[in-house]
């Protein structure tokens, strides 16, 4: 209000001389009738400009900054985390995960049953839900969605694989639907709670075909209004929304959203994110660079909402199949010789927790005992290297054995501050007499290097709320088995963890996995991922889902 008023005065001061100057000129011409017309025109123009200047402060609109222009935004087809940030508000899911308790709560399904053999999930759907295009949501829609996702022609990059051993969907009646699996799959509810398995309108899919992603239709709190790829994505309030899960709101009941419009825009360059917030061009900005945090926190117009992301922490995989890392003493030496506190402090400005094991501390099944495994102990690291036969015999500060220097190939992808982390690791290890040969690689190249086992070390991280994510990294057949581990025990625990749905049993299994991973010194954990959101203090009521990435925007209000 105050700002608007000052603005108005400022505009008036600028515009008044223009008006006066022009009216004078007209009087000199001395054409009375014309001058009156001019004056009226100018008054009209002036008032129009003043209205423009004072900018409507109705305030029911926010601009939300994303950090990438997502590569395709069909949630069933594409895989980026970025797409879920806007689309979580467009789609509803069958179930939701409570970020506080980790429990699954009703969504589009008001309740569900799992068969004795854990192969059939029966969902009883909530009634009276309609898509944004007016079509009713029902069991047939669920079947259509799951068939669409699993159809090979869709070439799904993520949703298909989240469904694991999915077999088929059966419509029992208008509001009852059964999902059949070929074997038990514990992470199914976790998958069904994510936007990638959100329920899309069958009619819209049929109408738009391969351009559906520009015309998305869901049942969620906001309507997909306009998408100009690379520029912006506009959502508008769904006034009929009345079926949000209780977790959507900090209040007693979920009602229709309070914001009228949300515009999402894309800010790929990290350096520009804070300035865009500070110029008022955006109200919420994800992934603020850590070095900007102090500056924003010193500004009373903004706050930082720091959301810890569950999943696999940023960690450096050690190739156990390649000399000299095939020797566990060398791997342990690197663990003891890494000062993670110094890294999180220098690179992440203490915004991220230090990681001690493969799972981020906020992930279900996290084993706290892991924190004691490898304290920073350079002396011990040196002893282990000595024991392994590596010592500096030729006085070139690099240890060697049988004439071969201890130099490790470290491959670094350009994102997630991996290059900076790599630099600090190299500096810390040089004190131990370990040389590092760093190389920058793209993601596809890293995948190839790692699958061929040409690396010693590669850092990586991946988000996900179910501990089954460990199977992608430590199972002998995993895509990201970058430690080249082949441990029957690990394989068995990870397979059981995916099958058994008793949560207590799963916790035990994953605890064993985490301890084993550290016992075998397969990785050097660095930090847990944290999504640093810069938020204008105008914006209130912002919540994040259990994945940590996706905002729940139903409850957001604007304060002036």
């Amino acid at each position: 209000m105050g700002v608007g008023f000052v603005n108005l005065i400022g505009c008036a001061i600028i515009l008044l001389p223009i008006y006066r100057y022009n009216s004078k000129k007209v009087h000199i011409v001395k054409r009375f009738s014309l001058s009156v017309t001019y004056e009226l025109l100018f008054l009209a123009l002036l008032s129009a400009l003043l209205v423009g200047c004072s900018a409507p402060s109705s305030g029911a609109r926010i601009v939300y900054g994303l950090t990438l222009a997502p590569s395709g935004i069909d949630p069933h087809v594409n895989a980026s985390s970025e797409l879920g940030i806007p689309l979580t508000s467009v789609y509803d899911t069958l179930v939701y995960q409570d970020p506080e308790t980790g429990k699954f709560v009703p969504g589009l399904a008001e309740r569900w049953e799992v068969s004795e053999d854990r192969l059939i999930y029966t969902f009883y759907l909530r009634r009276g839900i309609i898509f944004h295009d007016g079509a009713p949501f029902n069991a047939e829609a669920v079947r259509f969605n799951l068939e669409r996702i699993t159809n090979p022609d869709l070439a799904s990059q993520k949703a298909r694989f989240m469904l694991g051993p999915y077999e088929r969907t059966e419509v029992v009646d208008e509001h009852t639907v059964q999902i059949h699996l070929s074997e038990p799959f514990a992470p199914l509810l976790d998958a069904l709670s994510q936007v990638y398995l959100g329920m899309v309108s069958p009619a819209a899919v049929e109408q738009w075909g391969d351009e559906y992603q520009l015309h998305q239709v869901g049942t969620g709190p906001f309507i997909f209004a306009e998408y100009v790829p690379g520029d912006h994505l506009l959502l508008q309030r769904n006034p009929d929304y009345a079926w949000g899960p209780p977790v959507y709101s900090s209040r007693d009941a979920v009602t229709a959203p309070r914001l009228e419009e949300i515009e999402f825009r894309f800010f790929k360059d990290p350096a520009i994110r804070s300035p865009a917030l500070e110029t008022g061009e955006v109200d919420v900005m994800g992934e603020i660079p850590p070095q900007d945090i102090a500056r924003l926190e010193g500004n009373s117009d903004f706050r930082i909402e720091s959301v810890p992301i569950p999943g696999v922490s940023l960690m450096v995989f050690m190739n156990t199949a390649r000399q000299p890392l095939d020797d566990i003493r060398v791997r342990q030496a690197l663990l003891y010789g890494t000062d993670r506190r110094a890294i999180t402090s220098a690179v992440f400005r203490d915004t991220s927790p230090v990681a001690h094991g493969p799972l981020a501390a906020v992930t279900f099944g996290y084993e706290p005992a892991i924190q004691k495994t490898y304290p920073y102990d350079p002396a011990r690291a040196a002893t282990l290297l000595d024991q392994a036969g590596w010592s500096d015999t030729d006085d070139d500060t690099i240890r060697d054995r049988d004439g071969e220097p201890l130099v490790l190939d470290l491959y670094l992808m350009g994102w997630g501050y991996m290059p900076e982390v790599g630099q600090l690791l190299a500096a810390q290890w040089s004190e131990l007499g370990v040389g590092v040969n760093s190389q920058a690689v793209s993601y596809p190249e890293a995948l190839q290097v790692a699958s061929e086992g040409r690396h010693h070390l590669i850092p990586f991280n991946l988000s996900g709320s179910d501990p089954d994510i460990l199977r992608k990294f430590f199972h002998s057949q995993a895509n990201f088995n970058w430690s080249k581990v082949d441990d029957p025990e690990l394989d068995a625990w990870l397979e059981d963890g995916a099958r058994i749905s008793d949560q207590r049993q799963r916790v035990t299994l994953y605890s064993q996995v985490q301890l084993q991973v550290m016992d075998q010194a397969l990785v050097i954990p660095i930090r847990d991922y944290v999504n640093l959101n810069g938020v204008s203090n105008r914006v209130q009521g912002l919540l994040f889902d259990a994945q940590g990435w996706f905002p729940w925007l139903v409850d957001v209000t604007l304060e002036n």
Binding site: S71, D74, N78, G230, D231, T279, S442, P444, F480
Partner: protein, 310 residues
Amino acid sequence: MVARYVGRRLVQAAFVLWLAVTLAFVAMQLTPGDPAQALLAASGATPDEVTERRTQLGLDDPIPVQYARYLLDLVRGNLGQSWLHGRPVGRMILEQLPPTVELSLAAMVVGVTMGLGLGILAAVRRGTWLDTVATTVAVLGLSTPTYWSGLLAILLLSLQLRWLPATGEGDLRHLVLPALVLGFALSGSIARLVRARVVEVMAEQFVLAARARGLPPWRVLFVHVLRSALAPALTVIALQFGFLLSGAVVTESVFARRGLGKLVVEAILWRDLPVVRGVVVFGALAYVLVNLVADLVHAWLDPRLWEELT
């Protein structure tokens, strides 16, 4: 006469296009990394499922077969579907084209204006402090990376002075900063070229003759010197179009604008061959056409050239 010349140039253009898409294909083959693996690894697909996707994308076929399909699609006018986005490439390019063209043209205007101004100033006041200043500015433009000058411009003009919006697109105000930054980078090479040409022409006999006839200096400069000095500069300026397309990549990223640059960078990172092919065809086509038009205009300005060309 003109028609035959243009016809010959168009045949050359077809050859250039073929060369460009072939080079793009070879470069993508030489770049390590498997697109199917990149698309699916993080999703938890099994190795079998990755292999299946690779077959689906036709990546298991022998390279000559892939190349033939790559060219044939193009000849049929089918740009195909993005592997990453799952959308038709032609439409993706059309979406991203307008802002890139807009930025390139605006930067061209800024760059040519600044480059001409600096170049002429430096040439006319050769050896004075003005020359030094103008040349220094030109070298700065030439050597300052746009991700840095862009950030500086945002910090100063948007954040401190609040004159212009920092990011995005929309009205003309959004275009000013990126056009200034990219145009500034472009002005350096134009200024140096213009300075050299003007200095050269000013030493010629006909300029001396014009001066001897007692024409005012501005008339000598604008009517006699510049006309002769700038005609060849035109073709060089047209060649800068390529620089603009590549410069737009970085500028788009700094100013959070959409555009072809971002599209193709992402496509290369993800080994999204159909998109790379589409953008290369578009870029090469635009480049060839711009240079053809520049040559025609040049010949129109300097009729002697017709004899050489035709």
